[in-house]
C-alpha cells in the first residue's frame, strides 16, 4: 500500500470539521431540510392518511377507518410478500458483502491495471435498472436466450419460470448491479486505513491473510455497517428491476413488498391497502436502520483511525 499521502490527510479534515461545529451553522441544513420535508415527510403523512381511507385513485377519498389495514393484514399475500422480501434482502446481503469487500480491497491497490479494471467493474453502476433487467431477461430467455445462442444446454434453464431459480436470478442481477457501488465504498474505506498498521504487522511477521483478517476487516467495521444498511434497507424498495424482470412471477414467487404495493395501488386501484403496505415498508426500513446502528455499538462517531 502506498497510500501514505491519503492516510496522513485523514485527520486534517476532521480537525477542521470540529472547528465548524463550534459555530452555529445550522442554517446550512435548511435547503436539505426543505426538500426532505417537501418530498419525504409530507408524502409520508399523506400515505399514512390514505391508509385509513378507501380510494380508487380517481374518485372521492372516503375515510374508512381500519378497513384497509384489516384487508392487508388478513391477506395471506402479505406474509408471503414479506418472506420474499426478506429472502431477497438476506440473500443479496450474503452474496454482495463478501464480493464487495474483496473487490474493494483489491481495487484499493494503486497498481495501474487495477485502476483500469475498476473502470470496467463500475459499468453496471452506470446502467439504469430497467435496461439491466431487459438485458438479462433477453439473455435468460429459455427459447431465444444465451443458452440457445451459444449452444449451451445447461444455460437453457427456465431461469425466470421456476420459482426458486427466478428468486436466485433476481438476487444475482440485483447483486450484479450493486456490487460496484459497495466496492467503491469499501475501496475508499480501505485506503483510509493507515499504512503504519500494515508496516507494524509486517514487522511482527503477519502474512497477507493475517493482515486482512486482523487489520483490514476490523478497520472496515463501520463501513460494513454503513454498506449493509444501504443494502438491506435498499432491498426493501427494489421495484423497477423485479418489475421488468419477472413482474413478481412466476405466479407470485418474486412478489416483494414494493411490487405488491404497486400492484395493489396502480393495477387494482386499491390505494388504501397499498398505502398501508407503504407504511409497513417505512416502519420495517426504520427498524432495520436502527438495528444496524445498534450493531455498530451505538457510538458511530468513534474514530478507528490511529491515535483515536
Amino acid at each position: 500500500m502506498t497510500a501514505t499521502s491519503v492516510g496522513s490527510a485523514g485527520p486534517a479534515p476532521s480537525r477542521s470539521a470540529k472547528s465548524v461545529h463550534g459555530r452555529s451553522l445550522g442554517w446550512l441544513a435548511v435547503p436539505a431540510l426543505v426538500f426532505f420535508v417537501a418530498f419525504g415527510v409530507i408524502p409520508l403523512i399523506g400515505v399514512l392518511f390514505l391508509s385509513f381511507t378507501t380510494w380508487d385513485g380517481i374518485g372521492e377519498v372516503v375515510p374508512s377507518g381500519l378497513t384497509s389495514w384489516k384487508s392487508v393484514l388478513s391477506d395471506p399475500g402479505l406474509p408471503h410478500a414479506m418472506w420474499v422480501t426478506f429472502q431477497v434482502a438476506a440473500l443479496s446481503w450474503l452474496f454482495q458483502t463478501p464480493m464487495s469487500i474483496l473487490l474493494g480491497v483489491f481495487l484499493a491497490g494503486a497498481q495501474k491495471y487495477r485502476a483500469f479494471l475498476a473502470v470496467l467493474y463500475f459499468i453496471p453502476l452506470l446502467l439504469s435498472s430497467a435496461a439491466i433487467a431487459i438485458t438479462f431477461k433477453a439473455l435468460l430467455d429459455p427459447n431465444f436466450g444465451i443458452g440457445t445462442g451459444l449452444g449451451l444446454p445447461f444455460m437453457s434453464q427456465d431461469w425466470l419460470g421456476e420459482p426458486k431459480l427466478a428468486l436466485g436470478v433476481v438476487v444475482f442481477v440485483v447483486s450484479w448491479q450493486f456490487i460496484p457501488f459497495h466496492s467503491l465504498i469499501y475501496q475508499g474505506a480501505v485506503r483510509q486505513i493507515p499504512t503504519s498498521m500494515y508496516e507494524a504487522a509486517q514487522i511482527d511477521g503477519a502474512g497477507r491473510m493475517r493482515q486482512f483478517f486482523s487489520i483490514t476487516l476490523p478497520q472496515l467495521k463501520n463501513t460494513i455497517i454503513t454498506s449493509s444498511t444501504l443494502m438491506v434497507v435498499g432491498s426493501l424498495t427494489f421495484f423497477d428491476l423485479i418489475y421488468v424482470l419477472t413482474a413478481g412471477g412466476p405466479a407470485d414467487a418474486t412478489r416483494v413488498l414494493a411490487l405488491d404495493m404497486y400492484k395493489r395501488g396502480f393495477q387494482a386501484n386499491l390505494m388504501g391497502p397499498a398505502s398501508a403496505i407503504g407504511v409497513i415498508l417505512v416502519l420495517v426500513g426504520l427498524l432495520l436502520a436502527l438495528l444496524f446502528r445498534r450493531l455498530g455499538g451505538g457510538d458511530q462517531t468513534a474514530s478507528q483511525l490511529e491515535g483515536a
Partner: protein
C-alpha cells in the same frame, strides 16, 4: 395552484409533444381540445393521421395530441383523472375501466348526443356499444378496430409432423404428444403477461358452459365461479399444462416483447391463441411467414358436450373514446365534432384495413377485395359479424380490483400452484356482490 400544476404535468408527459399541448391550450381560449392515445405502430400513425386531417380541416378548433406507451398510459390516465388534469378526449378499453371513470363522474354521458346524432351511431357495429355502456347509458364513442382472439397455427410445422389442424378440444389434446415427440411445443404462450393465459379460460368457459357462466360472475352472482362447467374448464386447462401443451418457460415469456409470436413463426411452437392484432406484427416481423402463406387461423374449436355456440368469440369489440366531464363546453364541442367527422373517416377505415384489421364500421368488408390480406380480413369480418356472442375480455370487463385478482389467480392456476376449486374460491371472494 391549478394552473402551474397543469403546466408541470404537461411538461412531464414528454418534452416533444408538450409544445403542441401548450399551443393547443393557448388556442383553447377559443375551443381547442386535447387528446391522449397509445403509441405503437401501425395504430399510432393512423390515430395521428385522423387528428392531423381534422386539424387541417378545422383551423379554429384544433386538437392537441399526445401519445403514450400502453402500460405507462394506463397509470398516467388514472393519475390525471384523479388530479382533474385529464385530456378532453380519453382513449380507453371500455368495460370495467370505463365504469370506474363513470363512478367517479369523470366522463360525459353521451346517450342523448348519440340519439340526436343517430347517423354516427348507426355507422358502427352494434356489438361495439356493449363495452361503452354502463348502467344503460353510453359513456364512450366506439372507435378503431374489432379484435377477436384467434387460434393461429403454423402450416409448415403441421405439414412436417403430418397432422391436421384441430377441429375439437379432443383433437387439441391428441395433437399435444405428437408435437412434443418431435421436439416442437404444441402451443406458444406469453404467460408472464397473464391476460394471455386468460384467453384460454375465456374460450373454454364459453365452449363448455356458454357465455352465461362468466356473465353470472360478472353480475356478481353468488359462487358463480364454482359452477361445475367453470370447474371443468379450469381442470381442462390444467390438463393441458400438465400434458406440456405450452412451450417450456411460458411463465417467463411476455407478450409485450412479441416473443410468443416469434416462437410460432420460427416453428418452435405449432399453435398460438392470440389477439387479431398479432397478425400485423407477425406479418412485419416474421419475414416470409405470413406472406408465404404459412400462417393458418381458425376460431377456437368446440369442446365435446359443451353448451357454448362455436361461433362465439371473445376479445376487444372495439376501442373507446370518452369525453372528460371536466372539459369546457367549447372543448366538449370540439371533441364531438371530431367524433362526427374525424373518427373512422374513409381514410382511417382504409388505413386500418391496410394493416390487416377490421374497423368497426358497417360495410368495411367492401374495402377488403383489393387488399393483399383479403383471405385473413374475410375470416376476421366473418368471425366478428357472425358471432352469436362477442364477449369482452374479462380483465377489461371486470372492475380493476377484481381484474387484478383474476389475473393473479390465473397465473397461479397455470403454475399449477392452486387447484380449480381454490381458484373458484379466490374469485368468488371478489366478484360476489
Amino acid at each position: 395552484m391549478g394552473v402551474p400544476l397543469a403546466g408541470a404535468l404537461a411538461a412531464c408527459g414528454s418534452s416533444g409533444p408538450s409544445s403542441s399541448t401548450s399551443s393547443g391550450s393557448a388556442a383553447a381560449a377559443g375551443s381547442g381540445a386535447s387528446y391522449w392515445y397509445l403509441t405503437g405502430q401501425p395504430g399510432e400513425g393512423i390515430r395521428k393521421g385522423a387528428v392531423d386531417r381534422f386539424n387541417a380541416a378545422n383551423a379554429s378548433t384544433q386538437i392537441a395530441q399526445t401519445a403514450f406507451q400502453n402500460d405507462a398510459y394506463k397509470t398516467k390516465i388514472k393519475t390525471a383523472l384523479g388530479a382533474g388534469q385529464a385530456p378532453t378526449i380519453i382513449w380507453g378499453w371500455g368495460g370495467g375501466g370505463l365504469k370506474s371513470w363513470v363512478d367517479a363522474s369523470q366522463v360525459e354521458d353521451l346517450t342523448s348526443w348519440f340519439s340526436s346524432n343517430s347517423a354516427v351511431k348507426d355507422k358502427l357495429f352494434p356489438s361495439s356499444f356493449g363495452a361503452a355502456t354502463v348502467g344503460g347509458k353510453i359513456y364512450a364513442m366506439p372507435c378503431e378496430t374489432v379484435q377477436p382472439i384467434v387460434l393461429y397455427y403454423n402450416k409448415s410445422v403441421f405439414d412436417k409432423v403430418g397432422v391436421q389442424p384441430p377441429t375439437s378440444w379432443d383433437d387439441i389434446m391428441a395433437l399435444v404428444p405428437k408435437f412434443n415427440a418431435q421436439g416442437i411445443a404444441p402451443f406458444s404462450l406469453g404467460g408472464q403477461s397473464r391476460w394471455t393465459n386468460m384467453m384460454w379460460l375465456e374460450f373454454l368457459f364459453d365452449r363448455i358452459g356458454g357465455p352465461e357462466v362468466f356473465q353470472a360472475a360478472f353480475e356478481g352472482k353468488k359462487d358463480a365461479w364454482s359452477n361445475p362447467d367453470a370447474i371443468t374448464a379450469l381442470t381442462k386447462v390444467q390438463d393441458l399444462v400438465k400434458a406440456n401443451g405450452f412451450i417450456k418457460g411460458f411463465s417467463s415469456i411476455t407478450a409485450d416483447s412479441n416473443a410468443d409470436q416469434a416462437l410460432l413463426y420460427t416453428g418452435k411452437a405449432a399453435m398460438m391463441l392470440h389477439g387479431a392484432w398479432t397478425y400485423g406484427s407477425m406479418k412485419s416481423d416474421g419475414g416470409d411467414f405470413v406472406k408465404g402463406g404459412h400462417l393458418g387461423w381458425m376460431n377456437f374449436p368446440p369442446v365435446a358436450g359443451g353448451k357454448g355456440d362455436p361461433t362465439n368469440t371473445v376479445g376487444n369489440p372495439g376501442q373507446y373514446l370518452s369525453i372528460s366531464s371536466k372539459a369546457t363546453a367549447a372543448e366538449k364541442e370540439t371533441a364531438k365534432k371530431f367524433f362526427t367527422t374525424g373518427v373512422l373517416d374513409s381514410t382511417e377505415v382504409k388505413a386500418w384495413i391496410d394493416t390487416g384489421s377490421i374497423p368497426i364500421v358497417k360495410g368495411a368488408d367492401s374495402n377488403i377485395g383489393s387488399s393483399e390480406d383479403a383471405e385473413w380480413l374475410k375470416f376476421l369480418y366473418g368471425v366478428s359479424s357472425n358471432a352469436k356472442v362477442f364477449a369482452q375480455s374479462w380483465d377489461q370487463a371486470l372492475p380493476p380490483s377484481a381484474a387484478e385478482t383474476l389475473l393473479d389467480n390465473i397465473a397461479k392456476l397455470f403454475q399449477l400452484s392452486i387447484s380449480p376449486e381454490q381458484f373458484a374460491t379466490n374469485l368468488n371472494a371478489v366478484t360476489n356482490s
